[in-house]
């Protein structure tokens, strides 16, 4: 799915050992990561984990206590103004002035982003079209619905065609239809701009992002593609079976399919004589076919066989529950490989 080649695309965001403390309490504690051009990266974490703080430091709005942040190779701390020219930012809750019209607001923001007037008019039309705001561009922002406001925020972030787009919870409070629109909008940026989004809505992150960073207590607890995270954090795959036959003989048969395969749970036979069985394995291999072959060979009757995909939600819960110190080591690995398992 990722169109950016992780090997050749230039780094647009580099963060090294970032620390931010508020009155002695570390909000962000030794965080390092990189993002390449064209990547969409999701920042996931419980409330107060340090997502917004990290994003604010990236934009140069907040100074870091220590560590280095570079946007397109420009250190944010020492050349803030220059770095800001490469960033489009949509803060949490998407603050907008209440008493301006959409096109006025976007024009004003474009001027602040140092876009020349002639170019700005053309770009404004383009962005309004892209965010489906063209029909309502003369409406006053204070009277817009939440979804429209959110689209105005996104339009503002992409207005200056920045290399890096940072969005703090872009889909919060939207209905499913609007989420779909916003997701498509963000997806449309893939390959051209680097995008960091934070969210609580895990399926959102899973669908949109090439890579996920899970942050808790100011540190990364896990990092990788959604598929890698499942494997890394949960460490096992589950298969659900519904079979009729001699369930007691099942473990012996399973050893022939894969040595790591084990029965986790068996329920009693239902009216039709079928047992629901949950198998678990640490192996990454796709075992469905061989399992089915082995079962029919042993004359089990199979009604259902499925491989369960742990959702990112499970990963998120497991990763944040685990002590961060244990997971810090794998988190430092460079991730971002293309994966076929991303749903």
């Amino acid at each position: 799915m990722p169109t950016a080649d992780p090997e050749t695309a230039p780094l647009t965001i580099e963060v090294e050992h970032l620390v931010k403390t508020y009155g002695g309490i570390a909000a962000v504690n030794d965080v390092s990561f990189t993002v390449r051009r064209g990547e969409i990266v999701g920042l996931l974490g419980p409330n107060g984990a340090g997502k917004s703080t990290t994003m604010r430091i990236l934009t140069g709005f907040l100074p870091a206590t220590s560590g280095i942040v570079r946007i397109c190779g420009i250190p944010v701390a020492s050349r803030t103004d220059e770095a800001k020219r490469h960033i489009g930012y949509m803060p949490e809750n998407n603050p907008l002035p209440e008493d301006m019209r959409i096109n006025e607001y976007l024009y004003y923001r474009g001027r602040l982003k140092e876009m020349p007037r002639e170019k700005l008019h053309a770009r404004l039309d383009e962005v309004l079209e892209l965010c489906d705001l063209k029909r309502i561009r003369h409406r006053i922002i204070g009277k817009l619905s939440k979804g429209m406001r959110q689209r105005v925020g996104i339009a503002e972030a992409i207005l200056g065609e920045p290399e890096v787009i940072i969005m703090d919870e872009p889909t919060i409070g939207l209905d499913p239809h609007q989420i779909l629109i916003v997701r498509d909008l963000i997806g449309g940026l893939r390959g051209r701009m680097s995008v960091i989004i934070s969210s609580h809505i895990l399926p959102e992150i899973e669908v949109t992002c090439d890579r996920v960073l899970i942050i808790n207590g100011g540190r990364f607890v896990a990092q990788g593609t959604p598929a890698e995270l499942r494997r890394e954090v949960l460490g096992r795959t589950h298969y659900e079976l519904e079979i009729a036959g001699d369930v007691a003989a099942l473990p012996a048969m399973l050893a022939g399919v894969d040595t790591a395969l084990a029965v986790q749970m068996t329920s009693g036979p239902d009216d039709a004589g079928f047992h629901a069985v949950i198998l678990t394995t640490t192996s990454d291999r796709e075992l469905g076919e061989s399992l089915l072959a082995a079962l029919t060979a042993k004359s089990y009757r199979v009604r259902a066989l499925s491989r369960t995909h742990p959702t990112l939600e499970d990963v998120f819960l497991a990763a944040t529950r685990r002590s961060w110190d244990i997971v810090d080591a794998p988190a430092k690995r460079e991730a971002g490989r293309p994966s076929s398992e991303v749903r």
């Binding site: 709005f61 930012y89 603050p95 602040l112």
Partner: protein, 254 residues
């Protein structure tokens, strides 16, 4: 400074499309008119030593500055902070100084506009007064010049108060108190018994120079003292620097 004019233009536009501005301006002019009428009545009954313009500026300096300036400036920074738009503003390549100066410039523009509109009162007086002595152009020019110069400092103090508070009401009260201290403080402090001691003579001299009403008297008499100008210009610069630092300090402890 390339963003200063973008922000200034934007702020002035927002002031001009805001109904609140017109309501405030109308109230301001209504009260101005009332007081001016009262003043003329006093003058029509018996001759006074000073021209009406002189008394007019004296009265309104107390009223209009202390009440109107905080109301005009209370929104400028605190509203942006409350809405969170300060964050979006400062993540564009705009410096805090440009933001503060842009907002200050717009507030000062409105201040001049309001005061300028009181010129109409004098026009009426000029049109209908039979006695030309009532309208001394020297006093008028001096008075308005004083309003323009002192307004620099007063508006800066209002913006400063707005930068410190998240709540508009708090900003207004803070601005009100600061202006009160500036305008009436030196006069009251001079009456303190303790300051009469010889050792405090430099303090007394300094306070004497800082008497706002004294400045007005001088200006309206046509005396444009560089010390007064210096007082307002340095005061303005200092207040604006403190405002910029205040906005930045608040960001650090966000």
């Amino acid at each position: 400074m390339r963003h200063f004019f973008t922000i200034l233009g934007h702020e002035i536009r927002m002031l001009l499309v805001n109904p609140g501005t017109y309501i405030a301006a109308m109230l301001f002019l209504a009260i101005m008119g009332l007081i001016f009428t009262g003043l003329l009545e006093v003058y029509s009954q018996q001759a006074q030593e000073t021209s009406p313009a002189h008394d007019f500026f004296r009265l309104f300096l107390g009223f209009a500055v202390i009440f109107i300036v905080p109301l005009m400036t209370m929104k400028s920074v605190s509203e942006e902070r409350r809405l969170g738009t300060l964050e979006t503003l400062l993540t564009t390549p705009v410096s805090t100084a440009e933001v503060v100066l842009g907002k200050y410039g717009a507030a000062y523009f409105l201040y001049l506009l309001l005061w300028g509109s009181t010129g109409g009162l004098f026009y009426l007086l000029h049109r209908f007064a039979t006695d030309a002595r009532l309208l001394d152009p020297g006093t008028l020019i001096g008075g308005y010049l004083y309003i323009a110069v002192s307004g620099l400092l007063f508006v800066a103090i209002g913006v400063f108060a707005s930068a410190l508070a998240r709540n508009q009401a708090v900003a207004a009260v803070l601005g009100f108190v600061l202006l009160m201290v500036l305008i009436f403080g030196p006069k009251l402090a001079l009456d303190i018994q303790l300051l009469q001691i010889e050792a405090f003579r430099p303090v007394r001299t300094a306070l004497d120079y800082a008497q706002v009403f004294q400045h007005l008297d001088d200006f309206s008499r046509g005396i444009i003292d560089t010390r007064h100008l210096f007082f307002y210009f340095t005061g303005t610069t200092l207040t604006l620097i403190l405002t910029i630092l205040g906005v930045e300090a608040k960001l650090l402890h966000h």
